[in-house]
Chain length 221, copies 2
DNA sequence: AAATTATTTTAGGCAAATCTAAATTTTATT
DNA sequence: AATAAAATTTAGATTTGCCTAAAATAATTT
């Protein structure tokens, strides 16, 4: 039954899946940038993947995965995250050095392999970055969000929710230029007042209070 | 330093390596058959691999790996056999169902991965088929040959050497249609006279004496 | 030694996945 | 609404790895 796709095709499907986490329709340019290729190449591949019914695509209208495409994407994500878990848990890799290797391993096709690996690892639900691992039928836990207070030092993360909607909080966030999607790392933690020093992009680091940190939820990136 | 080769290139190098175990120089046809491709395609690839200095090749003269080619081949063999060991030992695959999956895994490029896997498996010296696993510098134990007497029941094996050259022995072997390369399995062992019943390919099983079995050396296949 | 057969190489093409440059369509701006 | 800018697609090439058919070379047989 389940067809056989090239590494390239799988990478396109995976990239579309990831971009669709934040926008409904994926643009040719966004895909080209993500895949480090040229827009013209993307167009070619989209036409091919459309004939394979993995995505909805009309010229100039962007692209969305079909149910079948999503299923394939979840299979690849499952493999990627299980292999990452294996590398960290069993082979003692650091969680920050597993991505590249998993990018290769995720294209190994044997379903039996991945299901046996899953069982061997005792069906982990989150990978070393905190991202949920789809089970063999494609279901997975909601995105794991952690409190900024609990984010380890020097771990890239992205603000994904804020624990209050008060005007005062929003004013403070605006002033600090923090919003949903802001990427940051914690550089220092001060035990005295539990304040933390964070760094956004390449800007200079600055300090935020315990009270503020406690209402910010992030996911590792 | 170590360059990056395509899956196809690696498969050619590996095939040449294996064929060179029994003959010094590998013919285009032999390679084509092993790789399930056409001789013309082989010629193309040989020309390419020659420019990469992985092999010695002159038109019509067959091919031999260079030291560099051999090193690459040993790296691939190492990966293949370590993954096979992993699949059987940790993931509970049967030893007869790991080959295909290992054919894919052997092309994962990370050296760090394979060295960590090696350590995790506690540096095994033989894979589940009894073939030796090269260490990280390419050294490996001699081919594991065992006496036919010691071959477990129902284990496919191949005759690889004969412990005597006597005419009488050769006559007997000819009559039983056993030669180097014959594939067989032991189906029964009789304690009374230590004779064993063996089966060659799909032919009916037949019995051979203890004396004969003792001079036949096989390797698992 | 000549002729036949088998092996190997060359020549010319094809499909996948990419690229650059040019044309087209959409979106944004005046 | 017209124009400028941005995004996207088309057209035409390139590379890799494979193919078939034909030519060249080597090996075998008579």
């Amino acid at each position: 039954m389940s067809a056989n796709f090239s590494v390239s095709e799988e990478n396109y499907i995976k990239a579309i899946y990831h971009i669709q986490q934040s926008v409904d329709t994926v643009s040719t340019n966004a895909l080209a940038e993500q895949l480090k290729t040229k827009p013209a190449s993307v167009t070619d591949m989209l036409k091919k993947l459309k004939t394979k019914k993995l995505l909805h695509y009309e010229p100039y209208q962007g692209v969305r995965l079909t149910a079948e495409g999503r299923k394939l994407a979840l299979g690849i994500v499952r493999k990627h995250r299980l292999w990452e878990f294996f590398l960290v848990e069993k082979l003692q890799f650091g969680w920050d050095e597993v991505h590249e290797v998993a990018e290769e391993l995720e294209h190994i096709s044997s379903k039996k392999l991945i299901d046996k690996l899953d069982a061997y690892l005792d069906f982990p639900r989150f990978d070393p970055h905190g991202d949920p691992i789809p089970d063999s039928s494609g279901r997975m836990a909601a995105q794991q969000q952690i409190n900024l207070i609990d984010l380890p030092l020097n771990t890239p993360a992205e603000v994904c929710s804020v624990g209050s909607q008060s005007a005062e909080l929003l004013e403070l966030l605006t002033h600090k230029q923090i919003s949903i999607g802001t990427r940051l790392e914690v550089k220092k933690q001060f035990g005295f007042d539990h304040s933390i020093e964070i760094r956004v992009k390449n800007q200079p680091a600055f300090t935020i209070s315990q009270q503020l940190a406690q209402v910010l939820f992030v996911k590792r990136v």
